[in-house]
């Protein structure tokens, strides 16, 4: 499977995700944001970091870059797109994903391991996970508080477009286990076609038992399973 990782000034998880992809046998290329064409890709990854220093709004400036026009075209043609953390913020700024990531409700940058529950496995990114499985992943963000209008929120729930929700160790989804105030404890969402996934937790940080755990591996192996 061919993957492309988009690199912006201020990206800092680009090499981490490249290591994860290559470890799991993806043929990966790094693509600079000023490029105006994409190599043939089965998966496009918009990595985490602080593109353009989060100026104006997180992801706003990166969302208008040259390469994003190509990403939007490819995504609309059905290419798989994964946006992690700042990548999720960029996807909402381009309109590929609806909604917005507001500042964490406690006004603090949160960098810690958290738990998420796999709410929906019927998609190309999560088919190797079990439904209701509890994963330990890492978050590191200041704006991860997902917000959208009531109509879209209902659509997300009704059409199973939420793959991961924040939970506690035992899988309880509630106010206490929600780290950032995200609506309905949303940690990740899909577009209607489920080819675009935006998520705040970092799966690429959990691909090796020696340094952390490997709860993130199945997200990548699910993609290879299609």
């Amino acid at each position: 499977m061919n993957s492309s990782v988009i690199v912006f000034p201020g990206s800092n998880c680009d090499r981490d995700i490249a290591v994860a992809l290559e470890k799991l046998q993806f043929k990966n290329k790094m693509i600079w944001h000023k490029d105006t064409s994409l190599p043939k890709s089965d998966l496009i990854v918009i990595p985490g970091g602080f593109s353009y220093g989060d100026y104006l709004r997180s992801g706003a400036i990166a969302g208008k870059s040259n390469i994003l026009n190509e990403v939007v075209k490819a995504a609309n043609d059905g290419c798989l797109v994964l946006g992690v953390c700042n990548g999720f913020q960029i996807l909402t700024e381009t309109g590929l994903l609806k909604g917005v990531l507001l500042r964490n409700n406690n006004l603090k940058f949160i960098g810690k391991d958290i738990n998420v529950k796999v709410v929906n496995t019927d998609n190309k990114f999560c088919n190797k996970y079990k439904k209701d499985q509890v994963l330990k992943l890492n978050i590191a963000h200041n704006e991860g508080n997902y917000f959208t209008d009531a109509e879209h929120l209902k659509e997300l729930e009704d059409k199973n477009l939420i793959p991961f929700k924040y939970c506690d160790k035992n899988g309880n989804v509630n106010k206490e286990s929600n780290p950032n105030g995200s609506l309905n404890s949303i940690a990740a969402i899909f577009n209607n076609n489920k080819n675009i996934l935006g998520m705040m937790p970092h799966p690429e940080r959990m691909v090796d038992k020696i340094i952390s755990n490997d709860d993130g591996v199945n997200l990548f192996t699910s993609l290879l399973n299609n």
Binding site: L56, R57, A60, K64, E93, K98, G99, V100, L102, R103, N104, N105, N106, L107, F147, T148, D149, G181
Partner: protein, 92 residues
């Protein structure tokens, strides 16, 4: 002595300000903390406070309608996230 071409340049320049505010139903944690701090300092008359953004924009255009439309386009395309924010354009 004033040079005529400089005067002309000034005449062609319009200035605008754009105020961006969070929509009413969007939580403003930063504004809330500022509000609480002011209230804790004894500012009893303060009822509510919301934080926003402010831009000053100069344009090379002497037609006010065209210029306003351009500023509106800037707001819609980049400056404002219409899901959570409202904006108001004023001529300075």
């Amino acid at each position: 002595m004033e040079k005529p071409y400089q005067l002309n340049l000034e005449k062609n320049k319009l200035k605008f300000s754009v105020k961006i505010t969070l929509k009413k139903n969007v939580l403003d944690p930063q504004g809330k903390i500022v509000q609480q701090t002011l209230q804790n300092m004894g500012m009893d008359t303060l009822k509510t406070l919301r934080q926003g953004k402010y831009f000053e924009i100069d344009v090379n255009e002497n037609d006010e309608t065209i210029a306003t439309n351009k500023i509106e386009e800037m707001c819609n395309k980049l400056l404002v996230n219409l899901i959570i924010e409202d904006f108001k354009i004023s001529k300075v």
